[in-house]
C-alpha cells in the first residue's frame, strides 16, 4: 500500500509538469493581450510598451514559461498581472467560500441521491423510477443559470424569503447570514450533482439486484427494504467513492456559472475574471491547484476503494 501511494505521488510530478505546459501553451496561443486590459483610450504607446516590458510580456513565450517555472519550484505561484496581488493569497482567500458551497452541495447531493437511486433501481420501469428519472433528466439538461434565475425569482422576488446577491449582507458577519445566502446557490448545485449521482446509483442498484447474494437474502425471507438498505447499499456505495474523488477538484474550481449568477466570492468567479483579463499567472495557479486536488482526490478514492472492497487489493 505504501509503495502504491509513493509511486502514485511520484507520477504526479511529470503529470503536473505536462498540465502546466499545456495550460501555458493554450493561454499563449489564444488571441488577446493581457496588457490590453490596462489600456485606456488616451494612453500613450510608450506607456503601453513600458508596462509590457515591466511585466516581462515582451520576452519570448518559452522564456516566460521558464521564469514562471523557476518561481514555482521555489514555492512561488507568482503575482496577478492585473492587480499585482500574490496568486496563492488570492486562491486561499477565495477557497473557504468555494469549499463551503461545493462541500455542502456535494454532501446534500450524495445524501439525497443514495435513497433516490436505490428506490429508482429497485422499482425499475415503474412509476417511482420514472418520476426520479424525469427529475434527473431535468437536472442534467436544464442550464444552471436558468434554474438559478428561476429560483431567485421565486424565493427572493416573489416570496422575499432569501437574498440574491453575494455571501453576506453588507457589514453583517454571522454564520446564519452566510447560511441564508448559501441556500439558493447550494440548492442549484446540489440539484445538478444529484441528477448525475442518481443515475450512477440507479444502474449500480439494478446490477446488484441480479447478484446471487440478493437472491439468497430473498430466499431466506428478508424483506425487500432490508435487502435494499442493508446489503445492496454497501455495494452501491463503491461508485460513490469514485465520484467523490473526482469531485475533489470541483471542490476548489467551484462552479463558474453558479458563482457568477449569485455573485458568490469563490474560485470559480475568480477564474472567470482571470480568463477574461488573460491573467496567466492566476489562470495557471488555479489550474495547477485543481490538478493537484484532482490527482489527490483520485488517489484517495483508490485507497478507500481498497478498504471498502478488499478484492481490489488482492487483484493488485
Amino acid at each position: 500500500m505504501r509503495q502504491l501511494i509513493a509511486r502514485r505521488l511520484l507520477q504526479t510530478i511529470p503529470l503536473l509538469f505536462f498540465v502546466s505546459i499545456v495550460c501555458f501553451a493554450l493561454i499563449k496561443m489564444a488571441p488577446g493581450d493581457p496588457v490590453l486590459s490596462f489600456v485606456t483610450p488616451n494612453m500613450h504607446a510608450e506607456d503601453i510598451e513600458r508596462i509590457r516590458h515591466n511585466l516581462g510580456l515582451d520576452k519570448p513565450a518559452y522564456v516566460q514559461y521558464f521564469l514562471w517555472l523557476k518561481e514555482l519550484v521555489q514555492g512561488n505561484l507568482g503575482y496577478s498581472l492585473v492587480n499585482h496581488q500574490p496568486v496563492l493569497d488570492q486562491i486561499l482567500d477565495r477557497l473557504p467560500a468555494t469549499a463551503g458551497l461545493m462541500g455542502s452541495a456535494i454532501a446534500l447531493a450524495v445524501l439525497l441521491a443514495i435513497p433516490l437511486g436505490l428506490v429508482a433501481g429497485a422499482n425499475r420501469s415503474r412509476w417511482p423510477d420514472k418520476l426520479i428519472n424525469f427529475i434527473s433528466y431535468i437536472g442534467i439538461s436544464v442550464p444552471l443559470f436558468w434554474l438559478a434565475i428561476l429560483l431567485i425569482y421565486l424565493f427572493a422576488i416573489e416570496l422575499h424569503w432569501l437574498p440574491i446577491m453575494g455571501m453576506r449582507t453588507i457589514g453583517v458577519n454571522s454564520a446564519l447570514d452566510v447560511l441564508k445566502h448559501g441556500i439558493l446557490p447550494c440548492a442549484v448545485l446540489a440539484f445538478s450533482f444529484l441528477s448525475v449521482y442518481v443515475r450512477y446509483i440507479r444502474s449500480s442498484t439494478i446490477g446488484q439486484l441480479k447478484e446471487d447474494y440478493v437472491q439468497i437474502q430473498y430466499a431466506f425471507g428478508s424483506s425487500k427494504r432490508l435487502v435494499l438498505f442493508r446489503h445492496v447499499l454497501k455495494h452501491v456505495l463503491l461508485p460513490i467513492i469514485t465520484l467523490l474523488g473526482i469531485s475533489m477538484a470541483e471542490l476548489v474550481t467551484g462552479a463558474i456559472v453558479t458563482e457568477t449568477v449569485f455573485s458568490w466570492p469563490g474560485i470559480g468567479s475568480l477564474g472567470m475574471t482571470a480568463v477574461r483579463g488573460m491573467d496567466y499567472p492566476l489562470i495557471m495557479g488555479i489550474t495547477l491547484f485543481s490538478a493537484v486536488l484532482l490527482i489527490v482526490g483520485n488517489l484517495l478514492a483508490d485507497i478507500l476503494y481498497g478498504f471498502a472492497d478488499p478484492r481490489i487489493n488482492k487483484a493488485r
Partner: protein, 540 residues
C-alpha cells in the same frame, strides 16, 4: 401511459412557471427587501429635504483592480476612487469645478501654471494635505520605476513637466513648451498621500493600497474580495460633511441576477442596458437617468485593407450615403432616447465640438452615383464583428442589408471578443474593411490626434492627410483659445469631408437610481464614475 405521464409532468412544470411569471406583475408594488442594509429607520424628514444618514449600494461588475488613482484604469476602480480620493478639479461642459484646488492660473506666456490648494485640507487619517502631496504624486507618476500609465501625459515634446512647491498650498507646474491640453492632464492627477507612500519602492504593489488613505467624501472601511467594498462618511471633508453614512460597491457579475437584486432592494444604483429599461421602469421604484457618456459609436473604414476597396474617399462617402443614421440608432439602441445622432468625430462634451459639419445620410441614388463615378462595381467588403456584442451584431446586420441595396456585398466575420480586440487594435491588419466601434477620448480634442494623425498608434482607419497632421500639431501647441478653436473646427470638417469614419451616435449610459435617494443633480452624473461628487447624495 408513458406519454401521458410525461405530458402531465411537463404541464405541471409549465403551469408553475407561468404562475411564477404572472405573479410578478401584481406584486411589484409591495417592497420589503430581504437583504437591504439601507437604514430606512432614521428620523423622518420632509420629502426631498436633504437629511443625514442611510447607506447607498451601487452595483458594479467586477472587483476593483487597485484602489489607487495613479494606477486605476478600469471602470470599477475609477468609480470607487472618485468617492475615496478627491480630485484637484473637474471639468463639465468646459467649466471647472474646484475640489482640492482653489484656483489654477496660467502665466502670460502659458509656460507656468500656478495651482492653489484650499487651506486646511486633511487626509482621512488626519494628516494635512499640502503642496508636498501634489508634488510627490506628480513625481511618482513621472518615475519610470513606479509604472504609472499616465506618465507620458506629463511629458511634452520629449521633456518632462516640472512640479515645484512654492508654499504649503501652492504648486507651480513648469512646461517645456506651450501645451493647452495640460489642464486636461491635471484633471486626471488625483493626489495620493506622501506620508503613506513615501518609502515604498513599488507603490503599485504596495500592501498599503489594501487600506487606502484618501481625501474624498468617503473613507475606506472594508473590502471583502469578490463581495463588496464599503466606504464610510468622512466628517472632515472640505466641502462639508456628506449626507450618507456609507456607500457600498457590491460586486454583481451577472447582469440578470443583478437586475433582480436591484428590484429586490439589494442594490440601489446600477447601469442598465437599453433592453432592460422598461422592466425596471415599470416597477415605479427607480429614477431612470440616461446621460451622455462622451462616447462616439461609429462605423470604421479600414482604408488600407489588402483589396484597397475603401482607399477612395468617394467609396466611403457612397457607403455613408447608403445608410440612415436614424434607422441605425433605432436598430441598435432601440430608441433615440439613448443615443444622439453624431456627425463630428468630437463628442459633445469635448471642447470646440460642432455637429454642423458635412454629413452623408440616407440617399441611395447619390450613393449609386458616387460608386459609378468612382468606377467601382461588384464591391465586396468584410465586416468584423465581436460575437455576443449586441450593438455590433445589430449594426452589422443592418449595414449588410442596406449596402446590398446599392450593390455592395458585405461578408460578416464573427469572432470571439479577444480575437476581435486583437484584430481591431492591430493597425497592420489588412483582412477586413468594416467594423462597428466606439471610443471615449475625454474633453480635450488633442486626445483625438492618436486616432487620426498619420501613423498614430490608434489610427485604426489608417487615415493619412498632411493637412490634418498639421492642424493637430497646431491645436496642441496653440495657447490662444480662439485660434485653437478654429483649428479644431476645421479638423472636424475635413475629417467629415474625407468620410474617414461614419459617425453614428453619441451614446448614452443609462443608470437606474432608487427613488429613495435624492441630490442627483448636485452629485452630477458623470461618465464612467457615475457620481462626480457623491457627498451630495442623500436619503429622502
Amino acid at each position: 401511459m408513458r406519454k401521458g405521464f410525461y405530458g402531465f409532468l411537463t404541464l405541471a412544470l409549465l403551469s408553475l412557471l407561468i404562475s411564477a411569471c404572472s405573479g410578478g406583475n401584481n406584486s411589484n408594488s409591495e417592497a420589503s427587501p430581504t437583504g437591504s442594509a439601507s437604514a430606512t429607520g432614521s428620523a423622518p424628514a420632509a420629502e426631498g429635504q436633504p437629511k443625514d444618514g442611510g447607506s447607498l449600494i451601487i452595483g458594479v461588475q467586477s472587483d476593483p483592480t487597485i484602489l489607487n488613482p495613479i494606477y486605476a484604469g478600469d471602470r470599477v476602480s475609477l468609480t470607487i476612487d472618485q468617492a475615496l480620493y478627491a480630485p484637484l478639479f473637474q471639468v463639465n461642459n468646459g467649466k471647472k469645478t474646484f475640489y482640492l484646488a482653489d484656483s489654477l492660473e496660467p502665466s502670460a506666456d502659458n509656460l507656468t501654471y500656478t495651482l492653489k490648494l484650499k487651506s486646511g485640507l486633511t487626509w482621512h487619517d488626519g494628516q494635512p494635505l499640502t503642496a508636498d502631496d501634489v508634488v510627490f504624486t506628480f513625481n511618482a507618476i513621472l518615475d519610470e520605476k513606479q509604472n504609472s500609465m499616465f506618465r507620458e501625459n506629463l511629458i511634452v515634446g520629449g521633456k518632462p513637466i516640472q512640479a515645484v512647491k512654492v508654499d504649503d498650498t501652492t504648486v507651480e507646474f513648469k512646461l517645456p513648451q506651450v501645451n493647452p491640453s495640460f489642464e486636461a492632464t491635471l484633471v486626471q492627477l488625483t493626489p495620493i498621500p506622501k506620508h503613506v507612500f513615501e518609502n515604498e519602492a513599488n507603490i503599485e504593489k504596495s500592501t498599503k493600497n489594501n487600506a487606502p488613505v484618501g481625501s474624498g467624501a468617503f473613507k475606506f472601511k472594508e473590502y471583502k474580495t469578490g463581495e463588496y467594498v464599503t466606504l464610510e462618511r468622512f466628517d472632515n471633508y472640505f466641502a462639508g460633511k456628506p449626507h450618507l453614512d456609507s456607500i457600498t460597491y457590491r460586486i454583481a457579475k451577472d447582469t440578470n441576477s443583478a437586475n433582480l437584486a436591484l428590484q429586490n432592494g439589494e442594490i440601489n444604483v446600477k447601469y442598465l442596458d437599453p433592453q432592460d429599461v422598461s422592466t425596471i421602469e415599470n416597477t415605479g421604484k427607480f429614477d431612470i437617468k440616461p446621460y451622455s457618456e462622451g462616447r462616439l459609436a461609429y462605423l470604421l473604414f479600414n482604408e488600407d485593407s489588402d483589396t484597397g476597396a475603401l482607399a477612395k474617399k468617394e467609396v466611403r462617402q457612397a457607403i455613408s450615403y447608403a445608410l440612415s443614421r436614424d434607422e441605425l440608432i433605432q436598430t441598435v439602441y432601440g430608441s433615440s432616447d439613448y443615443a444622439d445622432p453624431a456627425k463630428s468625430f468630437v463628442t459633445p462634451d469635448g471642447l470646440f465640438h460642432t455637429n454642423d459639419v458635412t454629413s452623408y445620410d440616407n440617399d441611395v441614388e447619390k450613393a449609386k452615383e458616387l460608386l459609378k463615378a468612382a468606377g467601382v462595381s461588384n464591391l465586396k467588403l468584410r465586416f468584423i464583428v465581436s460575437s455576443g456584442n449586441k450593438a455590433q451584431e445589430a449594426a452589422s446586420l443592418y449595414i449588410q442589408q442596406k449596402l446590398k441595396a446599392v450593390g455592395i456585398d458585405v461578408e460578416l466575420q464573427n469572432m470571439d471578443a479577444s480575437a476581435y480586440g486583437q484584430k481591431f487594435t492591430d493597425t497592420s491588419a489588412k483582412d477586413y474593411e468594416l467594423s462597428y466601434a466606439g471610443y471615449i477620448m475625454g474633453y480635450d480634442p488633442d486626445a483625438y490626434s492618436i486616432l487620426f494623425k498619420t501613423g498614430a498608434n490608434s489610427n485604426y482607419a489608417r487615415y493619412s492627410n498632411p493637412e490634418v497632421d498639421q492642424l493637430f500639431a497646431q491645436g496642441a501647441g496653440e495657447a490662444d483659445e480662439a485660434k485653437r478653436g478654429e483649428a479644431y473646427k476645421k479638423l472636424q470638417e475635413i475629417i467629415a469631408q474625407d468620410a474617414v469614419i461614419y459617425p453614428v451616435a453619441y451614446t448614452k449610459t443609462i443608470v437606474a437610481i432608487d427613488k429613495k435617494f435624492g441630490g442627483l443633480d448636485e452629485a452630477v452624473l458623470k461618465p464612467v464614475v457615475i457620481f462626480e461628487d457623491p457627498s451630495k447624495l442623500y436619503l429622502k
